[in-house]
Structure formats: C-alpha cells, structure tokens
Symmetry: C2
Subunit: 503 residues, 2 copies
C-alpha cells in the first residue's frame, strides 16, 4: 500500500514493526503448541514476555500516538486510509487507555487465578476460585472504566473482542434465537434417532492417525487450502494462526476411536485459514491484514464445520470418501447414518462438546451471567447457582458438580470477560452468509458433487479479500445486503433438523 497522505505513511511504517513482531510471536506460540519439549516451557515464556514488552513499547511510542491523533482529525482521507486509522485506534485502545500498572496487576492476578481455577476444578470446589473471580471482576470493572463506554460497563469488554458489539445488540440478537433454540432442543429430544447409538463411534473401532492425516489433507485440498502457503499439524487444542500471508498454519487433533473429531476440527480450522489466505496481498503487514473480528472468524469456521461439513448434501459426497480412507472400519456406513452420526443433538453440560443446536445456548447462558455480574444484578458467589438454574431452563439438565458447571471453561480463570458472545454471533453471521450465497450458487448440488471451490470463491469475493477493511456490521451488510438478522440461523436449524430428525 502506498497512501498519498504522509501521516498515514508514517503510521504504516511504524505499524509494520508491530506487525512483524506480532507474526514472530505467532510463530513462537505455534511452536509452543506443536513442538515444544516439556522442559522448555519456562524459557519460552521469557521469550514471549519479552516480545510482548517490545510490542507494547511500539504501541506506546510517543511519536506514533501523536501521528495517530493527527490522522484522526484529517479530512479527505480515502476509504482505506480511514480504515487504517480506525483499526490502529482499535488495536491500540487497550494500550492507550489502561494504565500500565493495571495491565501488570491483571496479568499477575490472572496467573494466580488460573492456578486457583485449576485446583478448584479438580477438587470441584468453587470457593477456592471465588476470591480470584471477585478480584478479576473488580479489575475488569476498573479497566472498563478506563476503556470508556456509553451504556453498560460490559460494553467496554465486549468491544475488545468484537468491535462495536454492545449489550443492546447482543441482547436483541440472542433474544430472537433463545426461545426458538430451547423449543427445538425439546422437540429433538422426543425424536427416535436421538437415543439410538452406533458401534462405529462407541470406542470399539480404531481409526489410525495416519489415515486421519491423509483424509484431512484431502479434505483441505477440496476446500481450496493452498498447501504452498500453509501447513497442517497436530496440537492438543486445534487452532489456526497467521505467521504471514503465505504461511497460514492449521492444527487439528486426533481421536483414534472417533473419526468425526478430526473431520469437524479440520474443517473448522480450515475455515479460519481460508479467511486469512483469501485476504488481499496489498494488506500484508498493515492494519488491514487478517480477519476483522472473532465473530466473523467464527462465522467462517462454523460455516465450514457445520453448514458444509455437517450438511447431508456434503455427507452424501463424503460417505464413499470416508469408506475409501477407512475401508474396513466403515464398510457398513450409509449416507443416512453418516448424516445422523455427525449431527447427533444431545443437550450436554459441556460447551466444547456441544452440537450445532445447543451450542449457542451455552454461549447465551454465559453472556447473561457475565452481563448480570457486571451490572451487579448477581454477586460472584451466586454464579454457581445461577448457572444451575439456567442449565435446567435451557437444556433440561443440571450439572451435579461445579466442575461441569460454572468452573468448566478456562476463560474466566484469566479474566477474559466479554469473549464468549463472539462465538454465538458467528453462528448468526454464518447462516446469513449462507442465505446470500445460496442465491448465487446451487449449494446442495455442488456439495453433493464435492465441489467446494465455488463456495470458497464466493467467500473470497464477498468476505475474505477485504481483510479488516470493513467493520463486522459493514461487512455483513455489504456481503448480504442487510444488517445482522438472527432469523436466518433459526430458519437454517429448523429446516435442517426437521428433515434429519423427521420432527
């Protein structure tokens, strides 16, 4: 990029250093998850901390901040130049607004809280975590004050993970889907297919890792992942990271007793990867590079995982492919059984094991509790009880242990309040994109043939290539012609599961 405005050029030159170091840090983190020898963790942490320190210094550079302030008041900027200024303002907000001592204090408390959370979860004793939970909530109240907000203190936190997201916006979206989801779950639980089991995934059949790897690569090739500009590896928790525009790395996991785990994880992560690979080359090392938000990223990963990977149409194409890679294991698999197996809806206590229908309810539960905590409507000590009550209401089941309830997720242990809602927003964005895509592409027909490239092409054209040029709301408007509309998600689910479960 060669902006005509010299202040913007100076900003880009300075930001380039931040981008380069952030990418180096991404490699360090990738390697930590994929390759690190056990004894190396402490040393690696020193290196990571130092890079974070260097990146912080760059954000706080006085001349850079002055230039950014100057740029914010410039008229006659191009659309791209305005987006650069906006993204730098968003990217630097935390560094600019929150006093460094407070950042250090939160880091310190988070470290201790994480240890307490681990112990609390192991011993199933919320009281061990409670004092740290209280302190983290208190700190985030103060941090939110520094970050500023208009209506709700919680808005300041939501905005850190999903720019421009507010309590009001999330509440409206979630209010539209919650009753529908609760009702759909209740219906599904009455269906015959809901309870039947399968010996293919009961642990008696083994799917060797080497075969899973081969299938994953074949799947990614179908999706249009460019292996000349990326790789796939294995890590305990699957993730995707950008080491540079032409170096996008996916990790997946294996369960040798269940072929579905690696299949869905790989499609999910490759969805993230295609977003990054599809970005404009012009944006490399600028504030416009990479996906715009957690919400849009989850929209794309869940799109590929659920709307493609779990669709009966694509599974009709994949069933013979599964059999090709697992000829003995899956000799009896039918298309219908494949569709049922990867779409089993089962209200469960644990979010990360949740299916497509109940997943959003897990998120809404957390969103509501976070919001009420920050508004003081409930107290931290009440969280376990509120969790149980909502669990009964949404899933019809109640966790017997807090380790399967309020203590299950790692996020609160390091004070990541405001993170969860972006996950559920992703589902809504995804269904809306699907609706638009279907107007131009014979979706099911292509999926039945295994042709994923037209779908990737549509996403490249309407989403991927823009990187962070548009804010999430603008992007969705541009790609689908209207603002976020949760009804598409409900329609999608109802249509799919009415057929699948013959409701």
């Amino acid at each position: 990029m060669h902006p005509s405005n010299s202040t913007i050029r100076d900003l880009l030159t300075h930001y380039r250093e931040i981008a380069l170091l952030a990418k180096v840090k991404a490699l360090i983190d990738w390697d930590m998850n994929v390759n690190l020898p056990p004894k190396a963790a402490e040393g690696r942490a020193r290196q990571t901390a130092h890079l974070s320190e260097l990146i912080t210094r760059l954000w706080l550079d006085a001349k850079f901040r002055k230039n950014l302030e100057k740029a914010s008041e410039l008229k006659d900027l191009s659309f791209e130049e305005k987006a650069i200024v906006r993204n730098l303002t968003i990217g630097g907000k935390y560094y600019f607004s929150v006093p460094k001592e407070l950042i250090v204090e939160k880091d310190k408390v988070s470290g201790e809280a994480f240890m307490a959370w681990k112990e609390a979860k192991e011993k199933n004793d919320f009281s061990i975590f409670l004092p740290f939970f209280k302190e983290l909530l208190r700190l985030d109240q103060v941090i939110a004050g520094h970050l500023r907000y208009k209506d709700h203190v919680y808005d300041a936190l939501l905005d850190m993970f999903e720019p421009e997201l507010t309590v009001k916006k999330a509440k409206t979206a979630f209010a539209a889907i919650k009753p529908e989801l609760v009702q759909l779950v209740a219906h599904i639980k009455q269906a015959k297919e809901y309870t039947s089991t399968s010996n293919l995934v009961d642990g008696s059949v083994i799917y060797p890792k080497a075969q899973q790897d081969l299938l994953n690569r074949a799947l990614m090739e179908k999706m249009g992942f460019d292996f000349q500009a990326g790789r796939i590896d294995v890590s305990p928790h699957p993730f995707t990271t950008t080491l540079d525009h032409f170096d996008i790395r996916v990790t997946t996991m294996h369960d040798e007793r269940d072929f579905r785990t690696s299949y869905t994880a790989t499609m999910h992560e490759t969805g993230h990867a295609l977003y990054e690979q599809g970005g404009s080359v012009d944006y490399v090392d600028t504030p416009l590079e990479g996906g715009v938000s957690y919400g849009i990223h989850e929209a794309l990963s869940r799109f590929w995982e659920n709307m493609v990977g779990r669709s009966p149409a694509f599974l009709s194409h994949m069933t013979p492919v599964f059999k090709e890679f697992y000829p003995e294991q899956l000799s009896s698999l039918t298309i219908k059984e494949a569709a049922r197996l990867v779409n089993l809806v089962k209200p469960s206590l644990i979010r990360i094991e949740a299916d497509e229908v109940t997943y959003s309810l897990h998120i809404i539960l957390r969103f509501e509790i976070e919001q009420e905590l920050f508004e003081g409507k409930i107290q931290p000590e009440d969280a376990p009880e509120v969790w149980r009550a909502k669990s009964q209401e949404y899933f019809g089941i109640v966790p017997e242990k807090d380790s399967e309830g309020v203590l299950q997720d790692v996020h609160w242990s390091y004070g990541a309040f405001g993170y969860f809602p972006s996950y559920a927003l992703g589902n809504l964005y995804g269904a809306q994109l699907l609706h638009s895509l279907k107007k131009e592409i014979k979706f099911d027909t292509e999926l039945e043939k295994g042709n994923l490239l037209p779908i990737k092409g549509w996403l490249d054209e309407n989403v991927h290539r823009f990187g962070s040029l548009y804010m999430p709301d603008e992007l969705i408007k541009k790609a689908t012609g209207e603002k976020l509309n949760p009804q598409y998600f409900i329609d999608y689910l109802k249509d799919k599961y009415t057929h699948l479960y013959e409701l």
Copy 2:
C-alpha cells in the same frame, strides 16, 4: 548469575535482550529449514531482517557501549566477570568496528555474488563469478582493516570465526598434519579394501525413513540426549540450534538407499547438541551461554561422528542394532563389514562427501588459497588453477570442472573468508580430547558395550559445562593439560587405519 559489580549487572541486563532476540531468531531459522511452506520464503525473510536490525540496534546502543568500555578498565573483576566482558567485546566487535555502510554494502554484494556463483557453478564458468569474488575479497580487506590485526590481514577474518586464531597458529598446526595425511591417503589407496564395493549401499537396498527415525532416536538416547529438553527433525542440510537451554534442536537427513548417511549425520549433530545441553544453567541468556567457538563445536560433533560413531569398537555394538532396525536389509552384515563400510576412505573432489582422513586436506587447501589471496601472493583469477594444482598434490586427482573445484562450496559466494580453518581445527581438538579421555575411561570397552554415557559424562565435566567461559585454547589446556598438539590426530588416524586397512 548475580555479579557483584553493578556495571557488569547493567551489561547483563542489556545483553539479555540480545540473547532473547537471538533465540527467537534461531527459532525462525529452524522453522525456515524444517517447516516453511514454499511461498512463505519472502515474508519470512522480512521478519528475519527486522530481527537482525533490532539485534544490531541493541549492540550499537550508546549506553551499553559506554558501560562495556568502562567494564574493560575495571580491576578486581571475578574470572566469570572478566569472561563476560571479553565475550561481549568479541560479540560486538563486528558491530563496533565496521562502519554500517560497509556492512550494508557487503550484504548487498553478497546477495549478488551468491546469484552469480550459482549461475557460474551451473554453467561451470568461473568468469561469471570472478568480478564478485574480486569485490568480496576487496571488501573483506577493508573490513579486516577496520577489525584490526597484528601480523596478517587474514588474521582479522580467522578471528571472527575462531577467537584468537591466527595464520601463524593455523599454519603451524596444518604443517604438522599435511604431509602425514598425504602419505596416509597414498597408503590407503594401495590397500585391497579400498576398492571393493558392497551391494548394501549401492542403491539396491531400501532403508525406510520411518526405521531410520527410530534408529536415530535410539542412538540419541544412548548418547544421553535429553528429549525432554530438545527434539530431532528433518531438514535438507542437517544442523543443530539452540532455541533455549532446554530447547536444543537437532535436524538430520535421510538417504533411503544408504543407511550410513543418517547414522553419521545424527551422531555429528547430537555431538553439537550435547555441548549445548551440557552447559551450565547459570549461564542462560548471558554471554557465557553456549559453545565457545566453531572449532570446539566441530571438535565435539566430529568426536561423536568419527571417533565414536565410526570406531570399530562401537560398530561391534551397533552391528546387531543395525540388524534389529533393518532385519531384512542387513541380515548378512558382519562387524568387520560394518566397520569397513562406514570408514571407506576415498579421495574425492567434494569436501562435504569427504571421509575422516581426507577431510582435513580439503580444509587445508582452502586455508592456503585464502591466505595467499589475502597476502596478494595469488590473484583471484588464479584461484581455479591453484585449486587444481593443490588437488593433484593432496589427493592425486584433479577436478575436470571448476564446479567440482574452486566453485564447489557456497562459503566464498557470500564472502565468508576465514570460516574453513575452524572445521579442521575441530579434528585436532577432538583427537586431543580423546587422548585425555582414554586415560580415565576404558574407551573401547565401553563402546563395545554401547555405554556412551561415561563418555558424555567426561565431556560434560571437562568441556560442556563451561559454555563460553574459557577461550578455545584455555579450554583445551584445562581439559587435556596441554595446548593444541596436532600429533594426537595423526596418531589416532594412523592407528585406526593401519588396523582397518591392514596397512
């Protein structure tokens, strides 16, 4: 480390940043060789260049240089504190002495020269490389002037790769071994075993990579490599790198048609790795961390590769192990044949394919030519002819093409004059260490049993743990009781090959 002197403490605090960034850069380089997707090279180069720039800035920091000058004049420093000051002076010498424009110019010419060298080698036409060769030699003359030297301009370059190495010292050492090596080669060429071949390594037998990997790991376990604090991977050119004290990474290569390639490469690299793993934990992120020089590092890697890995005693232990990993391929292998196969001496034109006996002659040839070039005794355009003459004299063969002669190595293409001699010094240091070690350990008896840990233990105690505390000469004196004595190397080779080839 907690030095009592406050200037030293300040130096260590500043150097810690250099060390951390250098380790991050080591990870980037490792990943580049092991994992990089094809299209990612250009982007990765930007990141590497930026880290180099940050490291250069740290070396040139004014306050740091002032502190270092102050520290150089301090009395009453401890031995360790003196070593810190010395190593910082050595480490910073290039940055402090050579004007930045000259560094940039050499980088630029090196890049162009490398491309010209590639073309020249491909087309077997030295004239394409000659103008760049001349310019690189000229630049290094100027650089040497900035670095300062006492007797020979070439001393300044030798010293960059092997601290305190001089023309005088290298000449004395090489003069002692050259005639003996030439004579030994001539003798071996008359032996019966010299010409006989084997179907085991003629390309007709396949040694699968997966089995090579298992054998390599077993071998490294025997050597005492700590897999909790390191790993082994595969790259086109084997190397070893330190990402941190507890993260030492070895790479090896496979030749599926020759089981010896991976065996010797793995032992060589693990020799480097044990030096780094064996360093004192107190030295982490200080100027005392890591091996002291290329020469000592090569001493250890060649010690394990040749004096252990190629010794008839260890091969008597390894023969049944080879057969265990390659049961069908090596069913007919005898101990005697194993010893012959990994010790075939064959004067060849190519250094990197050279055996233990001729290897040092390849280095001496290069050392002599470099020295004469810098002393003006020969001109750059004469190098091919001088190469051919020396080749005839040392090996009894003459390269027909310059691509197998003066153009064979990559080093000169980027102006790394002074690098080669450290390779040959390693052989001499290694044999001297072996001589001392044998006084305390029943070397052959342990090797026959496959007990490598006592040998590693001796090296830990006498070499590894000191990191960069002692200069190479001091270290050898401390470990063996005398200064460098090339006779041990000659004795070792004569003894070994007289038996092997029944000379």
